[in-house]
């Protein structure tokens, strides 16, 4: 079972999936780190983004990797508006309230998708869907490799924004000290909305990388929500490094785990890790105690 020839492809598979998980988790951890919101709608938003990529390809023939230039700004705008006019308004600051609001938004989005597009699972076909690339003894699907590279690049861009731009500085200020940020003239509500937008923009990118190797249906978000939370909690709420490493780790665990336990029991392993982390080390690997 532990022969390299079986383990190696599984490992690579896990890493490529994990990279996309990491990108999804980055958005979630940014939203948590800055707004202290556990965004239950993250999975549903990803689902909508996937449909976006799907329809851009199906109706307009735009290649998913090209549609990044549309999806990222579109998701950013959606996130900004959603925070500014729905989520930010509804919260009243209470933990459970925001949780319920984002849950409500998730329900609305899922069922909107169900209503508009029915429950059929859809995939897209591109020229390279079935192309594989040899890496050592493994044959890795090209879309997955591109996903890995793309996710890494997107994460890099995000980190660059956070470190070098004024917005990034403002975001970090608001995350650390809300009142203080207000006092120095930062428009905190605007920054929060920007952060939420960026978090969703990550999903836009992730969707572009994900769809070629995956599928979409209205319920696909559910599966990603828990995995994303697991990664964020494992890596540490608000920690970028944690989200990246956590994503790769979870991807590998899922892939290697399913070698032993089969696919669905492998998934269970992830949730057991989640529970264990929540109970025994809620600050995760890199985070501060929430």
């Amino acid at each position: 079972m532990l022969e390299l020839s079986i383990l190696w492809p599984s490992l690579l598979n896990g890493l490529t999936t994990g990279a996309v998980y990491a990108l999804i988790a980055l958005g979630l951890t940014l939203i948590y780190g800055v707004l202290h919101i556990i965004n239950f709608a993250h999975g549903a938003a990803l689902m909508m983004a996937l449909y976006g990529v799907y329809f851009l390809q199906k109706s307009l023939g735009i290649d998913p990797y090209v549609s990044i230039v549309v999806m990222v700004p579109a998701m950013f705008a959606a996130g900004y508006l959603a925070y500014r006019y729905v989520i930010g308004v509804a919260g009243h600051g209470k933990d459970e309230n925001i949780l319920l609001v984002t849950l409500g938004v998730a329900i609305v989005l899922e069922n909107l998708a169900l209503f508009l597009w029915k429950s059929d699972t859809r995939t897209i076909d591109t020229a390279y869907t079935f192309t594989t690339v040899p890496l050592g003894s493994a044959m890795i699907a090209l879309p997955k490799l591109v996903a890995f590279g793309g996710a890494a690049a997107a994460a890099g861009v995000l980190l660059l924004i956070m470190r070098t731009t004024d917005l990034g500085r403002a975001i970090r200020a608001c995350a650390k000290e809300r009142q203080g940020a207000r006092l120095v003239g930062i428009d905190v509500e605007h920054v929060f909305a920007m952060s939420f937008g960026i978090g969703l923009a990550c999903l836009g990118a992730a969707a572009c990388f994900l769809l070629p190797a995956y599928y979409v249906n209205p319920l696909v978000g559910n599966g990603f929500v828990l995995i994303a939370f697991t990664i964020v909690v494992l890596g540490g709420m608000g920690s970028f490094a944690g989200a990246l490493l956590g994503g790769l780790l979870i991807g590998v665990v899922e892939s290697v785990g399913s070698l032993w336990l089969g696919e669905s029991l492998g998934q269970m392993g992830i949730f057991l890790i989640f529970i264990a982390v929540l109970l025994f080390r809620p600050q995760g690997l890199f985070g501060a105690r929430a």
Binding site: I38, A90, D95, N97, G104, A106, F115, S264, L272
Partner: protein, 311 residues
């Protein structure tokens, strides 16, 4: 004491319903309203009275449903006999999850997430284990007769679900009028103050989640008997978890009648939506989701919660 009278009136009124209503459609609607009320009553015990918001209450529901189905299908138990077993199992699962979560101080969003994770774990387990019929699920064999918890007419089911709901209402009445209930609500409102006043916070929370789990398991048993089929998605999926929390949030957290009011309103809203848009899939749920957002934004303690404040 004065709160008991309305419960009795409610019970009698509903019990008399089959005398005046014979339409299967309407009786089914009443049964579903009561069923959703039961889900809400169970969730409300932990969330409304105890302040711990669970997003994975299906974990208890599924346990009860599978207890009923498995004990009958695999071990030949009588249907009614599965009820006490389901209650015990529901309480046990509650105590297990509660002991872990509360021992390690999980609150708020973290607690909500861990309950969700547990529900998923159980769902995956049920999906992969022969004992529960794996993905195919289990059918409860047709064995007509009240002694088998199966009724020829809807009225029979109505009486059973009514009995469960009345039990739930009595439990909530007890929470409002007992020492334990006072302790529980104190823990909800401020754990530290409660501890400073001699309340064993851990034990109190544990009791609440066990109680909530047991009542939720009873709803699961009813479901298994009424629909005669259960599978992992129905048992442990997010659908039930969400159904359980919508009623109390709309109707009034931590109130006696909130879950009832919520269930009735949601049912009416659902019917109205279905009527207007002719069975479009997902539409009524979408409306529920929007309602959730609206309620939390403008009336976070629910309709009855707001009315109580103004009194």
């Amino acid at each position: 004491m004065r709160q008991l009278a309305p419960i009795a009136v409610f019970g009698v009124a509903v019990a008399l319903l089959p005398l005046f209503v014979t339409s299967g459609f309407l009786l089914n609607a009443a049964i579903m309203m009561l069923y959703v009320t039961l889900l809400g009553l169970a969730w409300n015990i932990l969330a409304g009275f105890g302040g711990q918001f669970s997003f994975g209450h299906a974990v208890f529901f599924g346990t009860g449903a599978y207890a009923a189905a498995v004990l009958q299908a695999k071990l030949g138990w009588n249907a009614w006999a599965t009820l006490p077993a389901a209650l015990a199992l529901g309480a046990a699962v509650g105590a297990f999850i509660g002991a872990l979560s509360f021992r390690y101080g999980l609150r708020g969003s973290y607690f909500a997430l861990v309950t969700l994770a547990f529900a998923e774990v159980f769902r995956i387990l049920a999906n992969n284990v022969d004992f529960t019929g794996a993905g195919v699920g289990i059918m409860v064999k047709l064995k007509a007769g009240p002694e088998n918890f199966q009724f020829a007419t809807k009225a029979g089911y109505l009486y059973v679900i009514l009995a469960f709901v009345l039990a739930g209402l009595l439990v909530c009445w007890w929470l409002k009028n007992s020492r334990y209930g006072a302790w529980l609500q104190a823990v909800r409102d401020n754990e530290e103050s409660a501890a400073a006043l001699g309340v064993n916070v851990f034990r109190v929370k544990l009791g609440a989640i066990a109680l909530s789990g047991a009542l939720m398991a009873a709803a699961g048993v009813f479901y298994a008997q009424y629909f005669q089929y259960i599978d992992p998605g129905l048992a442990y999926g997010p659908g039930v978890s969400i159904e359980a929390l919508l009623g109390p949030i709309v109707g009034g957290l931590g109130t006696l009648w909130g879950p009832v009011l919520g269930a009735v309103l949601l049912q009416l809203l659902g019917e109205g939506t279905r009527g207007l848009f002719e069975n479009a899939p997902g539409l009524s749920l979408m409306v529920y989701g929007a309602l959730l957002v609206l309620m939390v934004t403008f009336m976070p303690s629910g309709i009855l919660g707001v009315l109580r404040r103004k009194a």
